[in-house]
């Protein structure tokens, strides 16, 4: 039996005592027994630092502190240093500087920063980076966090705050406070694992230990008798369709007769406690008959390969053919041919998937959990439960990052819904970091054969590309990933002859799905590597070669789509030119023994929106009687900042103060469908939907006021929340008053907006118009390579991005810096190896001390169709970084790395094989 011991400590300056099981960690006592949820459980093994609290003023990882150790000590959580109404200067600085994105790491970062500043009130950048190196962040690239700590150091001394623009209405292009940022900074934002309900049961999942096996039998009888167990579900308990997916509903919620990958869910236990549920999982007896498992493409495509799926092992192929490549190669003076490889990638969002589900007062199954696709998830869940979609409601909890991994995450939310529906009781499911690594979708590993031909003048005349990807046993996003990879495989270059074929192949490896860029980071790495090798062969400067082939208005992409102005690719190249020249001079300077400096470029194009699919977003905006504006738009903000951008667009279009706009983007019962947060589409599509709704509402407001004031509506404007007569300084009427009068009169002050742009389906040769608009960008990498150890240090990344209009500049900059961090990881450190990579210790996302200097340059040429001229930027920043780094390594050493990540060993091998 568990025994309880009384322990006493000082919690946030108040004496506190409680009875606890001494084998608990401080983290679980704080979260479960005390009820303070600001310290987060991001990994459970001390790798991520999200659980940091202070003990006697020193930061500790509370997941590694056994609770008995705090007897008599002072414990400080984020709740103890500031509140929403009275934040600590560090919290204020994090919000003002834009250091908060998904917010999952934020309370821990702030506490670590506090421990540093308490001892060292004037730290250097390096000292800050070093102090927070035990705290992982996946969103920001750490730059804004270090900025915030340095800013806090001066705020503590009484320096004035940065200008906030919160009361302005002309806020597009201004760095306003991010919506929800302070709630995250003071620890009151609720993520899935922070939610609870009275009487709630806890869920645990039994997962397949085999890569490929038949399930001969499942015996749950012993587990059902275990103490605390309420129910156990298997495939036979699913009332509707046991399958989900965007293109093909082929992924089971619970395995039915067969498991096709390790970690596949086989049974679900609901019990009174997490412990009871976990114990019961161990008592379920499953008899498996192991089948031969296939992991690589060449084996999977063999005639005699075991069939992973009845239809065969080819999942999906996209061909894109334009012109005649043979003719093109005949014109070429140089032909460069290479095979590139990229690894499986893990999103490593810091919040492990978690949430609760229950039945609400309208008999709906409600899932309240992390997601980046709430409306889609309700449709999938309804099908799984055999319910009408009106009987399912999804409420997005504050979500700690997604990067594509929380789209179609019905393998998680479906289980929650199933248990709540069957038991009609609240249930909670919190996945562990290890489960996230084992079960969630991964970035598709690519093998890419590239053959590229150019004339001696440097004109790319032909490109032939063959892409193969071992994608695991279920389709998920394969069609989208392969199509985007194929359509973007030749990059932002006008190449008349292309032949591209991209095939996803079923295997028994991890299921691959969407991850920031949908196949485009992989092809960008390959194509940009080709460009530099062509430049070297022809003796043309790499920047010049890109200029000579750059797409311009009227150019055709590989699908034959003709680009309409503006096409600001050349502008991004011109924007880095000066930095490039300086970097070349830097590389010539003395750099130490065995250290060589190099400079490299990478460029990209990226189509906004889901490829050749419907992308419709909808929004509703109303003016309330308190004068505030409510935007309803189901565009999931997972930390990237869409709530803020949409509120800015609404404020600017309506002429109301930014801080008078509220948004609900989280509840499917309230906010209309704005499609998934993916494909960098929310600013463009949902921004346009909000703009349309705002304009319609503005018209209603002006026409109502024109009647009330007896003036023509053309003579009235809305200015900072008031109706104003044009040309006069008088505020005729506050909007709240108008709303109250209209409410009495029964005049509705609400309007809907929706937005869709026609794209076309691609024909059998991949020809058509898959995207309404493209974004372009160029990154410059400056690296130092140690030729003895193979270590690569990225010193500086300059990135220029065509963004149309930077609506929320500090947020956009933060997103780009985070994309760069992910790009550096893709280039140098990140590799998921099934069975070996189990957690954040093995999968190396960048830490603060590994970040280079980053310079971000926006190229702002307004997109005529974009809301306020904006396009989209969620993914583009993580595309060209890896290519720029690998090209810089080649520039430094002559060594060409063809396989990512460019680990020291690979760099060393490449240097020995083909280096100078």
């Amino acid at each position: 039996m568990a025994y309880i011991r009384k322990i006493g400590f000082v919690l946030n300056d108040s004496p506190f005592s409680l009875g606890v099981e001494p084998n608990k960690t401080l983290l679980s006592v704080l979260r479960e027994d005390v009820g303070l949820t600001s310290a987060k459980d991001g990994c459970g093994h001390g790798d991520c630092g999200s659980c940091t609290v202070l003990i006697d003023g020193e930061p500790v990882k509370s997941c590694l502190v056994q609770v008995g150790k705090v007897e008599g000590k002072r414990v400080t959580t984020i709740e103890g240093i500031g509140t929403l109404g009275d934040p600590h200067p560090i919290q204020q600085a994090f919000v003002d500087v834009g250091a908060v994105q998904c917010g999952f790491c934020t309370p821990a970062m702030i506490l670590t920063a506090k421990a540093l500043l308490d001892k060292n009130p004037t730290p250097t950048r390096d000292e800050v980076a070093s102090a927070i190196s035990g705290n992982l962040c996946r969103c920001t690239g750490y730059k804004k966090i270090v900025d915030a700590v340095l800013h806090a150091a001066v705020l503590v001394k009484g320096a004035p705050r940065k200008e906030s623009h919160a009361q302005d209405s002309t806020v597009v292009g201004k760095s306003v406070p991010r919506l929800g940022a302070m709630e995250k900074a003071v620890g009151i934002a609720k993520y899935g694992a922070d939610l609870s309900m009275p009487g709630m049961l806890h869920l645990k999942v039994l997962r397949s230990p085999h890569h490929h096996a038949e399930i001969a039998s499942i015996d749950t009888s012993e587990a059902e008798k275990a103490p605390g167990v309420v129910a156990i579900f298997t495939a036979k308990d699913i009332p509707g369709q046991n399958g989900f997916g965007i293109f093909d509903k082929d992924e089971p919620v619970l395995a039915d007769g067969k498991v096709r990958r390790m970690g596949e869910a086989v049974a679900l236990v609901a019990a009174d406690t997490v412990k009871a549920a976990r114990r019961a999982v161990g008592k379920i007896r499953v008899e498996y008959r192991p089948l031969e498992a296939v992991f690589d493409v060449s084996t999977a495509l063999r005639e005699d390969a075991p069939r992973i799926r009845p239809q065969g092992n080819v999942c999906f192929t996209r061909r894109v053919v334009r012109g005649d490549v043979e003719k093109g190669f005949a014109q070429a003076d140089v032909v460069v041919e290479n095979t590139y490889n990229t690894p499986l990638g893990e999103h490593a969002y810091l919040e492990p998937d978690a949430g609760i589900a229950y039945i609400d007062e309208e008999d709906r199954v409600v899932v309240h959990a992390c997601s980046q696709s709430i409306h889609f998830d309700t449709r999938e869940i309804a099908a799984i439960l055999g319910l009408d979609v009106a009987k399912v409601r999804f409420i997005q909890a504050t979500t700690g990052g997604g990067f594509g991994g929380k789209i179609v995450n019905v393998g998680f939310s479906g289980l929650l819904a199933l248990a709540a529906h069957k038991l009609r009781r609240p249930v909670k499911l919190v996945t562990t970091r290890d489960e996230v690594f084992l079960t969630t979708v991964k970035r598709h590993p690519f093998e890419m054969r590239y053959k590229t031909g150019a004339t001696k003048e440097g004109k790319i005349v032909a490109c032939e590309v063959r892409i193969l990807s071992a994608k695991g046993p279920y389709t998920v996003y394969a069609n989208g990933v392969m199509t985007r990879a194929a359509t973007q495989a030749v990059g932002p270059y006008d190449c008349p002859n292309v032949k591209i074929e991209a095939t996803a192949v079923f295997t028994n490896g991890p299921t691959c799905g969407a991850m920031r860029g949908f196949g485009s980071p992989q092809v960008t790495f390959a194509m940009e590597s080709q460009m530099d090798q062509i430049a070297a062969r022809l003796g043309i400067d790499p920047l010049e070669l890109r200029m000579r082939n750059a797409m311009a208005p009227g150019s055709r992409v590989a699908t034959g789509q003709v680009l309409q102005a503006p096409v600001p690719f050349r502008d991004t190249l011109l924007a880095v030119r000066e930095h490039y020249q300086e970097a070349l001079a830097w590389a010539q300077q003395e750099s130490g023994e065995h250290v060589r400096r190099g400079v490299g470029l990478g460029s990209m194009l990226f189509g906004i929106g889901k490829t050749s699919l419907n992308n419709r977003s909808q929004a509703t905006i109303s003016l309330l009687q308190n004068g505030r504006v409510l935007v309803l738009c189901g565009a999931s903000d997972v930390g990237q900042g869409s709530d803020t951008v949409l509120a800015q667009i609404a404020a600017a279009e309506l002429g109301v103060p930014y801080n008078s706009v509220d948004i609900n983007s989280t509840d499917t019962a309230i906010a209309p469908d704005a499609d998934y947060t993916c494909a960098s589409r929310q600013t463009y599509y949902s921004g346009n939907a909000v703009r349309t709704a705002a304009r319609a509402l503005k018209e209603k407001i002006l026409s109502a006021s024109s009647e009330l004031l007896g003036r023509s509506s053309e003579s009235l404007i809305i200015d900072r929340g008031h109706i104003v007569v044009k040309g006069s300084a008088d505020k005729a009427m506050p909007l709240g008053e108008l709303a109250r009068i209209c409410a009495k009169e029964g005049i509705p002050l609400a309007a809907d907006g929706s937005y869709e742009r026609a794209t076309t389906r691609l024909d059998e040769n991949g020809q058509g118009d898959p995207y309404p608009v493209y974004v372009f960008g160029t990154h410059l990498a400056m690296v130092e390579v140690n030729t003895k150890s193979g270590d690569v240090q990225v010193k500086h990344i300059v990135c220029t991005h065509d963004v149309g209009k930077a609506v929320y500049p500090v947020g956009l900059e933060g997103q780009i810096e985070g994309g760069v961090a992910m790009g550096i990881g893709f280039a140098l450190t990140e590799e998921y190896v099934p069975d070996k990579t189990r957690n954040l210790r093995d999968y190396r996302i960048l830490r603060s001390t590994e970040m280079p200097e980053i310079t971000t340059i926006f190229v702002e040429i307004p997109e005529p169709q974009g809301p306020q001229g904006a396009k989209g930027a969620g993914e583009s920043s993580s595309l060209p970084t890896a290519a720029a780094i690998v090209n810089a390594i080649a520039n430094a050493t002559g060594a060409r790395v063809l396989e990512l990540p460019a680990t020291p060993k690979r760099v060393l091998l490449a240097t020995r094989n083909n280096g100078r």
């Binding site: 568990a2 084998n23 960690t25 001390g46 930061p59 590694l64 502190v65 070093s130 035990g134 680990t903």
Partner: protein
């Protein structure tokens, strides 16, 4: 992530602690900072039925600057070492190594005694302590014994400690004048990661400052235990601290290493890194010796 069930014992004296350890039947482990053992317990790699928490034991605390040696209590945290200027001045390599352990949070909790008793081949604090000729002070039921730290390590995760014994601390003789030291490591990333190779070097120069009167070199993560590179030391001792001798010593150190291949690095790569780091550590230690009083 839950911990397996265990019984927690919190002795108030050294005597009580050794008695608890002596009475142990079944798996008993000592817990100090807990930053390593709790991870292993969560992974279910360890399932001790009893944990003896030694954090309250006064005898295991504190730094004592004696006549001719420094005593470091086993409960001293890495943070206490990395923030101590006197240690930086006299035992640079040790402070340097402690600064590289884990992260701010881990260094605040994790103790030097824990680092040594876990006996990971990659333990950061071990190579610098070896080059300073550290002695391990062990409390047994019959009293204290002191032995060279090198003999303390037996294999990966294994030390000489018997079930009823405790590491009380470490003693470090003060190095002679004109001594400098350095610790360098290579790891997949530069924070919160385990060393793929760690090298500590200590150089004592003669009066003229040209000749290497004494030298010690120790390697981490490249053998079953932290390892002294004896033949490399021999090769350099008494020689001028010049590139050709330094390089020769570095080559010998690489030969003495007995690395394995694992997820972090291959054996061959580790050997190459030993050579590079040994060379750099010797140069750095030499430079520090040159400016030392």
């Amino acid at each position: 992530m839950l911990l397996p069930k265990f019984e927690l014992l919190q002795p108030r004296s050294l005597e009580e602690a050794t008695t608890m350890l002596a009475e142990s039947n079944g798996e008993t482990r000592v817990i100090a900072g807990g930053t390593d053992i709790l991870v292993q317990m969560k992974w279910r790699k360890l399932r001790p039925s009893r944990l003896v928490d030694i954090k309250a034991l006064e005898e295991l605390r504190g730094l004592r600057w004696g006549q001719d040696h420094l005593r470091i209590g086993a409960l001293i945290t890495h943070r206490e070492i990395e923030t101590n200027q006197r240690i930086w001045d006299r035992f640079s390599a040790l402070a340097e190594a402690c600064r590289l352990v884990g992260s701010f949070q881990i260094r605040s909790m994790g103790t030097i005694g824990g680092n040594l008793c876990n006996a990971a081949p990659s333990a950061e604090s071990a190579p610098p302590l070896l080059v300073f000729d550290a002695q391990a002070v062990i409390v047994t039921a019959d009293g204290k014994i002191s032995l060279p730290l090198e003999d303390f390590f037996v294999g990966p995760g294994k030390t000489l400690l018997q079930p009823r014994q405790l590491l009380q601390g470490i003693t470090l003789p003060y190095p002679p004048a004109r001594t400098g030291s350095a610790y360098l490591r290579h790891s997949p990333r530069n924070a919160m990661d385990i060393a793929t190779v760690g090298v500590a070097a200590r150089v004592t120069l003669d009066e003229g400052g040209a000749t290497c009167r004494d030298v010690r070199i120790a390697l981490g993560a490249v053998a079953p235990t932290p390892k002294v590179a004896r033949s490399a030391e021999e090769a350099l001792r008494g020689k001028p601290l010049q590139q050709e001798f330094i390089r020769a010593a570095a080559r010998l150190a690489a030969q003495e290493a007995e690395p394995i291949t694992d997820i972090r690095a291959s054996a061959g790569y580790r050997r190459e890194i030993v050579e590079i780091l040994t060379e750099r550590a010797l140069i750095l230690a030499g430079q520090r010796a040159d400016i030392a009083p």
